[in-house]
């Protein structure tokens, strides 16, 4: 017998009597009067920054926020100042040294500052390898909590997606919180 059949047979023999799947629709999950306000406050609490695009273009905003940036990576049509395109780089490593990566999120989650990022570029490394990450987010697309979020998520053309909430962080050295562990050191959410 293969390990697959063997393992499945052992599980079937070991399983306890039936326990029903609980009803989950009755979870009285937290909701907010102003989801945008809550989202902004959670994003800041997790070390992120939120700005409103207002009358500026994305290019202008990125220049304003990161005047020193020389390597900018994005495949978004509204970004014309990109020096690298994650769709056409040969390999992920070519994106190393990116000062600013600009990507798009589908929706935000008010309770924890998460933003759903379906992979919409060939090299998803741009979401992590960039020193600073800028996420464009439609300001009217903020749900209350993860229950609502998991009813909304959709994948793009690639079989990967992630919720990102703030910059990469760690407290593995003596429990001191440091931003910028292995991925982006800063995250700026731009509400458009």
């Amino acid at each position: 017998m293969s390990s697959r059949e063997d393992i499945l047979a052992r599980c079937r023999a070991a399983e306890p009597e039936n326990y029903e799947m609980p009803v989950l629709d009755d979870i009285q999950a937290i909701k907010y009067n102003d989801t945008q306000k809550q989202f902004i406050s959670m994003s800041e609490a997790v070390g992120g920054k939120v700005v409103l695009l207002e009358e500026r273009s994305v290019d202008e905003l990125v220049r304003e926020l990161f005047p020193q940036a020389s390597q900018i990576a994005s495949n978004l049509p509204e970004v014309t100042i990109a020096t690298l395109n994650p769709d056409i780089v040969q390999e992920a490593g070519d994106l190393d040294g990116t000062d600013v990566g600009i990507i798009r999120g589908s929706f935000g989650v008010a309770e924890n500052g998460c933003i759903w990022i379906p992979q919409t570029m060939k090299e998803k490394a741009v979401c992590f390898i960039s020193e600073n990450l800028v996420i464009l987010l439609p300001k009217d697309r903020i749900v209350n909590n993860m229950h609502e979020a998991y009813r909304e998520i959709e994948f793009g053309p690639y079989p990967y997606g992630t919720f990102i909430s703030g910059p990469s962080k760690t407290a593995d050295i003596a429990q001191v919180l440091v931003m910028g562990a292995q991925a982006a050191r800063s995250v700026t959410v731009v509400l458009v």
Binding site: S3, A14, A125, D172, Q182
Partner: protein
Amino acid sequence: MSTAHSKKASAFLKNKDYTAWHDGTFWSVREKRDRMAAGLPEWEQLRDKASAIKRHTLSHLADYLEEFASNAEKNGVIVHWAADAGEFNAIVLEILRAHGVRKMVKSKSMLTEECGMNPFLEAHGIEVVETDLGERIIQLKGQKPSHIVMPAIHLSHDDVGRLFEEKGISDDIGNHDPTYLTWRARLSLRGEFLSAEAGMTGANFGIASTGDIVVCTNEGNADMSTSCPKLHIAAIGLEKIIPNYDSLAVFQRMLCRAGTGQPTTTYTSHFRGPRPGGEMHIVLVDNGRSSWLSDEDHRETLKCIRCGSCMNTCPVYRRSGGFSYSYFIPGPIGINLGMLRSPKDHSGNLSACTLCLSCQSVCPVKVNLGDQIYRWRQQLRDFGTYNMGKKMLSDTLSLGYGNKGLYDTATALFPAANIIPESVIPFRLRFPKKPFHSLIKELEDE
């Protein structure tokens, strides 16, 4: 009356300043967890749901495993099944050899630790680089994790600073600032991500209805490990499978709030298939889990989502540290997992519990950790590790407490012991002048 745990704990306790820091650090994580729990009016409802989802899943585990594997295969993932640690290691080695891999970056996985994968692969000439900062530190130090979420908690920033100097990771000698050290490690690991030919992750959850695996990290190291190399291998214990996204929402909301007191991990990443031009493998690992499932008294242990909250709150863990336990997972969940693995080797951990049950009152999936430890203790005689003196004492006490006449006679005689001088026994006995039942009766008569 010492056990393997208590002997090691007494060594840990010699450094009073460090013990106080360790205790305080974990208590502050517990307090952060409390603030998170209090911030959600539905917290207790979530715990009930989480526990019920896990119970349900375990009662249909084979069906969910088949559903998960078949969806993952439809997504283009190659699924493997490993009966035990040996088969798991062999499968991983075979995949790596087929791709000519010399170096693999990996994110945190307690399962690979359980299977002894790193030393096995290294013995076969494959370099394995841990990419979670804490795991990397202990890998360089040649140590084991002392906590499942904060693996290098036993080292100070000076320890890490000296280690990084020795390994050539930091060059500003004497600069032991945690921010500086973290950034030096970032720089060093960046080179590893870019030069490795394979990336390995564990999984916090496997979603049966879609075939996704979900990996939660704060550092983004699982995503870095799978964004650069083309080959992704994911190692998953059977019990990580859950039915669907609605269930996942419940667990995602609790995992980090319970474990570290954060509202979420920074990254909650869904892997549903290989990256363009790449390959993705999932190895489903049993290694004892199917037999634990048949153990009525202890199968609840399989509900665990490895958040670490039971260690953070445990008064014994906080004051004895991860290395006082003989199993590689410490704290209440580690005591139980160690007993399932090998009672003979790990029953020395059973003393590391006051039965305060704080663990099971914070556990987000309501594993009855303390109750199970109590059950294991009833079997100590079978494992040959019980303490004869304690056994005699407790048998004598049960005899007395179980028989009112004997109890009254004994307690009436005890005050006589008060006059034994300290020169005869090295301490002064002080029993009440009248037995308990006589005192109660006098009070009632008044």
